[in-house]
Structures are given as structure tokens and as C-alpha cells.
Amino acid sequence: MLAVVGAGSIDDLFVDVPEGARLDGAIHDLPNHASELSVERQLGAMARENMAAGEVPFFLGCGAYRHHIPASVDHLIQRGEYLTSYTPYQPEIAQGTLQLLFEFQTQVARLYGCDVANASMYDGSTGCWEAIAMAGRITRRKKALLSSGLHPHYVSVARTMAKFTGDELVHRAPMLEAGTDLDSLEVDGETSCVVVQYPDIIGRIGDLSALAAKCQAAGALLIAVVTEPVALGAIKSPGEMGADIVVGEGQSIGVGLQFGGPYVGLFATREKYVRQMPGRLAGQTVDAEGKRGFVLTLSTREQHIRREKATSNICTSSVLCALAWTMHMTLLGEKGLRQLAALNHAKAVAAAERLARVPGVSVVNDSFFNEFTLRLPKEARPAVRAMAERGVLGGVSLGRLYPDEEGLANGLVVAVTETVTDEDVEALAAALEGVLA
């Protein structure tokens, strides 16, 4: 091969590298190659240093939920045709991914109660900022009101971006109380959008209809953020209550916990705003013989065509997770999703009733889906650590999420999905009782 290339050695191929920057041999302070057995052994040891959710009573939520993923889903996404394909730029040999994305977009739009959805974002938090930026493009205003119930990490991401774009964000931390701030948000003629999480960070479910009407009257957009898509099997969709953009985290369906990523951002809106949407879109068309097929479309919004005028810089998104989401959703169907949602809710209601009987503990929420907040008689953060030492992952302390808010320090957010057993709830009750004693 070197002869064909006309080079005497491999080194000749790197002649353009400035001499001072050429490395002589392998980088010395990194190990050399290792066998499959050896790598698996080393990484297996690292994996065992973690407390896996499936091994203990587990109640963490706040934007990432542990659900059962059917075996067929993980089997299918490991097919090389999905796993090792590229973004479908050559549609004639990518109909598998493209048709799946078309199914995904339709499922997301229907679940969210919107007209259209895109082919995924990185995750819920980045999708949330993209929605705020999109609202700014549509309304040509720069003020976003973030409800106090929005996930604090989503708020942080928006703050990071707003610092550079010059957008104004209005936000305060939530209170440990049953009522939300949805009725008190002051939407005015400067407001680009109002961002509301549904159900919110402490689990409350608020009616969005009145707020949607208020936004519409002021020429602002209502953005609803859904971090737990399973909830929409039990409660009204944000779209049917009048939200203009609905974004969220899709991880609950088809994608595991994975320590925070990769996840899959869902993004849907009204048909009239589609050209302001970020991200890729699969669309239906026909081929030269008139057969139905699918292509990536409306790419004039995107970076590879529009460059600095694109609606977003997003390129690679989260397609494999979107495929897993669609496969899982297809296996559930409407019937299965509703059953799953009902089961989550029933288990959560039972758990809330049980935990409210732990001395000194009360439930903050009037309304919730599969996640609610307990008020403990002392700080929740050390209690969570102490429970972990007893082998119970008992929830997310609001002190972890809001370290500066003393009023939230006693709050413990508990998520209860179909994976939680009655014994797990008893174990949590006992652990709580133990660490609070």
C-alpha cells in the first residue's frame, strides 16, 4: 500500500505536522492495548463500585425515572442496522431509521397534544433552552418567565445560555407548599414566553388552561416542560390545555437511567411554528416510482445549509434513544401506556399514604402523579445519605437541588414507579423512621 501511495514509511504521511509537534512513539504514561477479557474485568470492577438501582429499594426521580424496559426494545436497538448507521442523509438506504423517526414524531405529537414534533433533541434540559430561544425568534421579545416549579438544572442551563444571548430570565425557587405559582406569574407585553413544568419539580400537577389564555392575550408563548412522559398516560396533555411548545425528557420510555445520559429530548409545537423549530425533521414523500418514502426535510432551518443563520447549531441529536422510545411506546400502545400510568399512580398514592404515617413526616402535595414531596422533621440531605448507608436509595433531597434555599432543606422528593414493590415501600418507611429517630 505504501508503494501505491508513494511513501517510504508511515512517517512520510505525517510530514505536514510541524517537527516539534510529532510524537516519537506511543504516549508513555498511558497503558498499551489490552484483551477483551482484561478490559471487561477492569471496567466490571469499576461498575461494581456503584450501587445499582435494581439492587436496592429505589425512589429517585427529579428528571430521571427508573422504569421497566422490555427486553425486545434493547434487543432491537442493538441490531447493527440501527446501531451502526449514520444520520439518514441518503434516504434510499435509510428508510428504516427515517420511517421510525416519522413514527416517533407522530407519537410525540399525539402524546403532547401538539400538531408536530421533531426527530429529538439531546435531552429535556437543552430542549427547554431551545424552546425559549425559539419563542424569542417568534415573538421578538427577550423576557422569559420560568415557573418556580421548573427543574433547577433546566433553569441553570437556561441561565448559562441567557447570560450570552442577553435574554432576561425571571425565576425564583419554589416553596414547600401544595399550591403552585401558575396563577401569580405576571405575563406582560414584554414577555416572550412562560415556562412551566408539568408535573413540576416537587410533583404537583397544575392546570395550564388559564395561564395559556393569559399568555395568548399578552402575545407570549406558553412552553410546557414534561420530565416524566409516562404521566401523560394519566393526565391531560399540555397541548390540549393550550401550550404552544411542549418539550421534555423522554428517558422514561425505552431509555435507562445511565447516570444522566444519553437521554432523548422531545420537542413539539403548533404547525404554524414549524419553520422556527430546531433539530431534524423526517417528512413523508414519494420516490421516482411513486412509492411512499421518508426523507429529512425542511433542512433550510439547519446548520449544514444555513450556517450562521440556522435556528440552532444542533447536528447529531439522540436518534438511537428516539428509536428505543418509539419501540417501547409501540409495545405499550395506548392501552399499555394508560395501564402503566395507572399503576404508577396507584403505587405512588399507596406509598404517600404509607410514608405519611412515619412519625413527623407529612406529604406536601395535594396532587401528584408518581412523584411527591415529603416534609421531614429535619434536613433531608443527610437523611438521604444515612438511608443509603442502610441500603435504601430513598429519594432526592431538595437540599441537593437547592443548596441555598433553607426553606426547602427538609423536602424529600420520592418517585414511585412500577418497579417499586410493597416491600420496597416498607423498607423506605423503616429507613426513614430509623434515620429520623
Binding site: G63, T316, T330, Q339
Partner: protein
Amino acid sequence: MTINQSGWRPTAPEASAEAPATFTGNRALMLEEALIFEIGDTQSTGVDIAEAGGTSRLGGLARNREIGLPGLSEPEMVRHYTRLSRQNYAIDLGLFPLGSCTMKHNPRLNEKVARMPGFADIHPLAPVDTVQGALKLIATLGEWLVKLTGMHSVAMSPKAGAHGELCGLLAIRSALEARGDAREVILVPESAHGTNPATAAFAGYRVENIPATAAGRVDLAALKARLGPDVAAVMITNPNTCGLFEPDMIEISEAVHAAGGLVYCDGANFNAIVGRVRPGDLGIDAMHINLHKTFSTPHGGGGPGSGPVVFSAALTPFAPLPFVEKQGEDYVLIEEETAGEHHGRTFGRMTAFHGQMGMFTRALSYMMSHGADGLRQVAEDAVLNANYILRSLEDVLDAPFGGSGPCMHEALFSDKGFANGLSTLDLAKALIDEGYHPMTMYFPLVVHGAMLVEPTETESKAALDQFIGALRSVAERAKAGDETLKAAPVFAPRRRLDETLAARKPVLVFKEPEQAEAAE
């Protein structure tokens, strides 16, 4: 004539008469597949979930409308998505020469590691004492990246390459603002990937192009002439998108630094130099690394990717949250709360959690398998393969920078000499009929009808020879003006798709037939 490794000699099929239509529309193993909305219904499901009832605490917002989500039984669902999968090309099926995309083999050990419960089944907000192994994995991968790049630190949270670019530019902007030096312009070579200018605009900068020389490199004189107090940074890709190493890189960095700016490097092409060159030795301040390119995490049909960013010492204080730090024997997570004392200048959080853990496990598995020695060989083999393609085809395809010396990991050709109005697109579609995924087309923009071929180190000489034979054949047809190319592909699951129709009358979701009619 092309011969594969077994010595089996493919014969060209006879030009057969039009194949007869079938009742089903299927053609043997090529199976047509309807949409789930056409074959499923809302009363079918593939799961068995216990019925549940009892008190409702849904705040009066219980759903009272149908969603319209069709379900399938497990065998139907498995069959539906298996049938659809067969309409996709993939690395597992053959050479995937997309330039700048680095479609290399995805080792399956990585998939196994990523699914270990200790990595796959842990919550991002779990108490840090219970996830020490996960933090260690992130720290270890970060250490590999820092050493391989010769940089000072690494931010692990960016979710993909473009997100990494944003991370780098936000750090640059923060560093400049911290010294009270608001600058407005980012210089981007005209051959840059589209994400570069899009990211610069997203970060609030104005973008200006810098021209390339006739040899396909950054025009150093033009760059130097443009530098000034308004230039925040230069975003450069090295090796560049013409497949060439920028020999003036050190001088470029020095000039930018002398003018008070910073240097961002798009690391999409790191596969060409990993283990042979450390970007830190070239004066770069920030560079993202696509784990889904150089470090073999699967591309999955469009992500998830992962785009960690390595920083110089100058930019390190501005790196985003959260990140992992080793303190004594423990790994700690630096977040908003803990950033205060030592990391008060961070530009903030870019994503809810810690980044793409599932990609970190795969990438580290790949790095440990290859080791420092194997990774160096990765670059060498990738570059050798690309040069082999370049030199094997430059007699038939125009190689605009063939005279600029060896290419790096990708070979660039143009459509010069194609007859009868045949285009790069026609050639690409003909390659589909030959059983290959086409190369990157019409990119970089600086070359007419560009074809950017990146074979990666995955391919054997035999596989390259067969591909070269196929590409030579279609190139000869294009130059001879063979108009049958315009009808290609003819053997794919679909003939050419009407992209104009898709954009003019967008159909982005399935509508039930009555809805669709009403919308007409």
C-alpha cells in the same frame, strides 16, 4: 475486475427485463412495511401490566381524551422493527466512507460494558458515595483525553460535537469578558463544517470567513491581516475538511494569541492524528472530541453522540459544571454549590446532568482495548487507507489537492470532467447500487461537487480494493456521460426520493386518511 477476499468473482448481472410485480409489493427478502398507525390499534398492547385502581390524586386533570397511540403485540412489534431495520445501510453491512464522520467499526464489548448495571442502572442524582465507580470512570476517561490531546483539563458534559463547540466558545467568551475585553467576531475558514458558524452565532458572535489557499489550507496571510482587537477567536478544523493537515498551525495559534484572541479547534478529525500529534502542542485553547467518531461509540442513525471539550490552562477556570474531581481517595462532583471556592469563574451548566455516561463507558472500553500503542496505529492505518484511495483513483477522479502532499484520514475529489450534466449526486446514488453508502457529498463547499471519502482504519486492503473498483467504475460512467446514472439507485428499497415535495408540502406526522383528506 474486483475480487473479494474469498476469491469469489462477482459477475455483472444480465440486463434483465422489468421484474414482475408481486401481489404484496415485496420482493423476496425486500419487504415493504406499513406504519404502526396502519397496522396497530389503541386496544392492542405487547405488555402485561397489572390493573390498578384506587384513589386518584391527579388534581382534577385526569386524561379524558384518547391519545391515539397504536400498540402491537411483541411478535408484531419485533417483526415490524426488524423488517424496517433491513432498509438501512450500516457499518455492520459494509464500508461507510462518509468524510468527516469517521464511521468505524463499533466493537461489541463496548455495548456489553455500557449495559453493566453498575453503569446503566444508576441515577444521576444518587448520593455520590454510592456512585464512586461512575465518577471514577468519568475521571479516568477525562485523564485519557487530556493525555491524548496534551491539554490541561477536560469538560465532559457536552452532549455532542456541536454542543462541545458551544462549550468551547462560551469558555472563550467568558475568559475574554473576565479580562474586560468584549470582542465580537469569530473567524471561520470557508471550508468549515456548518456547525462552526452556527455555533458562533448561537454564542452571540458575528461570523467572518477566512479564505483558503489554492493548496486547500488556511490562507495565513489573509488570516493575519484580519486579526485585530475585535476578533475573539479563530475556529479551525485540523486536520481540515479538505483532508489536509494545517502545517502552519503553530504559527496560526501564535498570531491569534498575539492579537489577543483564542484558538478553537474542531476535533471532528482527531482520528487522523490520535497518538501521533497532541493538539496541545499546536497552541490550541479548546477542542471538542467526538467520542462517536474517534472513539467508536455507535452513531445510532444520528446520535446520541458525546462531545467532551479539552481546554488549555488559560480556559480551564471557565469550564462548565458539573465535573468530577479527585480529592484524596474520593471522587467528588463539583456542582453549583461546591464550585464556589475554586471554580467561581465557571460559565455554568450546559445540560441537566453529567453528560453522556453511556458513551463514556463505551469510549473508555475502546481506549483501554487499543491502548496508547493501538490508538497511534488507528491514526496511521486511517491515514494510510485514505492515501491509498486518493492515489488509486486520482487518475480517474479529479483530486483538487492531490498535489498538496499526503492527505490525512480522508481523500477529497471533485466532479470535474463529469459529462452530460451528471453530478456528484448521480455518482453517489450509483454507489448505492454497488452496495455502498456514498461518501460525503458537496462538502466542503470550497470544492465543486465535492466528494469526501473517509475509509477509516476499519477497512482491510481487500475491502478498499473492492470499493476502489466500484468507485472507479461509476466515475468512468460519469465521465463517459452514462445517463443511466440519473436513474440510480435502482436496487435500493426506494428509488430517488422527492425531497422538494417533502419540503414544499411538509407531512411530518401521520394523519388518519380522513384527516389527511380534510387537510387537502
